[in-house]
């Protein structure tokens, strides 16, 4: 089943920051990992990832650096401390939202 775009939009930042919290990654890697980890549910239009990453960098939640890996130049992203605390905040927000939705639609309710 395909997920609607609107639903994905609200969670991309949390997903990206979570991936970066585990390790530094470059754009292509993030797309592949996200697809893989979500079992093919999250298929981001690849180009849209970059505006998001650049915005996160302007917000100082991530930092970028170039690295040459096997003769290939890659721009890596790394989460900052500000990004980490933002992520915690967003995660709490998400779990509150998820619980509320579950309650209303009756799956997590008593």
């Amino acid at each position: 089943m395909k997920i609607s775009k609107e639903l994905l939009k609200g969670s991309t930042v949390v997903l990206i920051l979570t991936m970066l919290e585990r390790q530094d990654r470059y754009g292509y890697e993030m797309i592949k990992d996200m697809e893989h980890q979500s079992g093919g549910v999250f298929v981001l239009k690849e180009g849209t990832l970059y505006p998001i990453l650049h915005t996160l960098e302007a917000e100082e939640w991530v930092q970028s650096y170039w690295q040459i890996h096997e003769g290939r130049k890659r721009k890596y992203y790394r989460i900052t401390n500000a990004g980490k605390s933002k992520l915690q905040e967003r995660k709490r927000e998400w779990s509150l939202f998820r619980t509320a939705v579950d309650r209303v639609i009756g799956e997590g309710g008593s």
Binding site: Y50, H54, Q63
Partner: protein, 436 residues
């Protein structure tokens, strides 16, 4: 096969993306990043058995609409306006204008002929124009003049003072038409802006290092001390140490600089004994060195919570439009207004620090740190001396007090600061190859 980079299809895609991005200097780096992505994608397709030509088309199609990507990137690299900083400056300026109006409409104006209020407004307007100009100017253009600016600062200190213009025991003023230029202020600005463009310390040998410390540290200090403007020496010392720390984080250097500073401060303090005595024991000499502090205290006590009102007369406060301005402000508008001003001042210092720490480009960061240090010391010292926690010296509150040089120059610095912040996300930060 041509590499991905050289394909016409890729060029068209990248150009469409970049046409949307106004920060032109970033085009190269963004193209590089997107190309890297395309390369990985193409390789992956080829590995899965897709023919080369199709692999490229598929990779580009997967990226999505180039115009939309460009628009998104443009949004992330827009010029920024530091509204908070601007608002704080407007509030401080308004406070200064109000105080001048109050002095003017009372009978405490010691400069009988001068219309402080009108002059303050005129100078504030000039200040805002200068601020706007420097805000628009790309601050990186200043960098190549660093050495000249620094040498000019030294020159000002060496050849500036003239014996005939002595004020408050310091010979530091140059008359310029109706205004006077305060040499230490001008010199520190030149030195500070010049020092921010210093070459990276990586390239320094120990001889160069020694020369830098003497030329940029000791020489200006000696010259400032000769002019008998000790506080400006202290301000300069702080800027110098912070700049050195920013380009070379070495504990040994910091220890040497710290010890050296303490010795210097000791020597200066001994020379400024009279003022120090007035500060430590104001009642011992209530008509001499302790005079200013006691008068300031009286004025602030008389002001109470709500003040004596706009235009209240106070004939006892000396330097009412400069060092005495803040006590007079509290005298007129009370502690409530005084605390409001303090909150604005500390928000300003905090904002300057936050802005500096968020900068990625080296020169801008150093320049911003120097400007922030200058304001922080000037504000904190001015406030502390009024409350009796620091000796009285010829420091005035930026934006609030009256005075030729001290009105226009702070605005110029704020213009540079706003300009640095404006370009924060619009300039390449270099191609660092390892995590910072």
């Amino acid at each position: 096969m041509k590499s991905v980079k050289e394909q016409a299809l890729v060029h068209r895609f990248l150009d469409t993306v970049c046409r949307q991005i106004r920060a032109r200097e970033l085009h190269m780096e963004i193209k590089e990043e997107l190309t890297a992505h395309l390369e990985e994608q193409v390789d992956n397709h080829i590995a899965n058995g897709v023919p080369e030509k199709e692999a490229l088309e598929l990779a580009i199609a997967n990226m999505g609409e180039p115009k939309r990507i460009g628009k998104g990137l443009n949004k992330a690299h827009r010029p920024r306006t530091d509204w908070v900083m601007l608002l704080l400056i407007v509030l401080l300026s308004a406070g200064g204008i109000l105080a001048m109006y109050s002095i003017n409409s009372s009978e405490s104006n010691p400069m009988n002929a001068a219309n402080l209020f009108e002059q303050k407004i005129a100078l504030t307007v000039i200040g805002f124009v200068v601020m706007g100009l420097l805000w628009a100017l790309d601050y990186r253009k200043i960098k190549k003049y660093s050495e000249i600016l620094f040498a000019l600062g030294i020159g000002f200190l060496m050849f500036g003072p003239s014996e005939s213009n002595t004020m408050n025991g310091t010979s530091a003023w140059i008359p310029m038409g109706p205004l006077t230029l305060h040499i230490p202020t001008v010199a520190i600005l030149l030195l500070m802006i010049g020092m921010a463009g210093i070459k990276p310390s990586r390239t320094w040998s120990w001889q160069v290092s020694l020369f830098q410390h003497i030329y940029r540290g000791l020489l200006p200090l000696i010259l400032l001390a000769k002019m008998n403007t000790l506080i400006f020496g202290a301000v300069y010392l702080a800027i110098f140490i912070i700049q050195m720390w920013m380009i070379r984080r070495s504990l040994l250097q910091l220890t040497i600089l710290g010890t050296g500073s303490l010795v210097l401060i000791g020597i200066f303090a001994a020379r400024a004994k009279e003022r120090m005595m007035g500060f430590l024991w104001p009642w011992n000499d209530p008509h001499g060195a302790g005079y200013m502090l006691l008068r300031a205290r009286d004025a602030m006590q008389a002001g109470g919570w709500w003040g004596q009102g706009l235009g209240a007369t106070n004939r006892t406060l000396p330097f009412i439009y400069n060092e005495g301005m803040f006590p007079y402000f509290i005298y007129c508008f009370g502690w409530i207004a005084g605390i409001a001003v303090l909150i604005i001042i500390f928000s300003f210092i905090w904002k300057a620090m936050v802005t500096t720490s968020g900068l990625k480009e080296d020169y801008g960061k150093r320049l911003s740190a120097a400007i922030g240090t200058l304001f922080a010391i000037q504000f904190i010292w001015s406030v502390m001396m009024i409350f009796g926690y620091a000796p009285f010296v010829g420091l005035t509150l930026p934006f609030l007090s009256y005075g030729g040089t001290s009105v226009v120059f702070p605005y110029a610095l704020i213009g540079i600061l706003l300009g640095i912040y404006r370009r924060r996300d619009m300039i390449p930060t270099g191609w660092s190859t390892k995590p910072i």
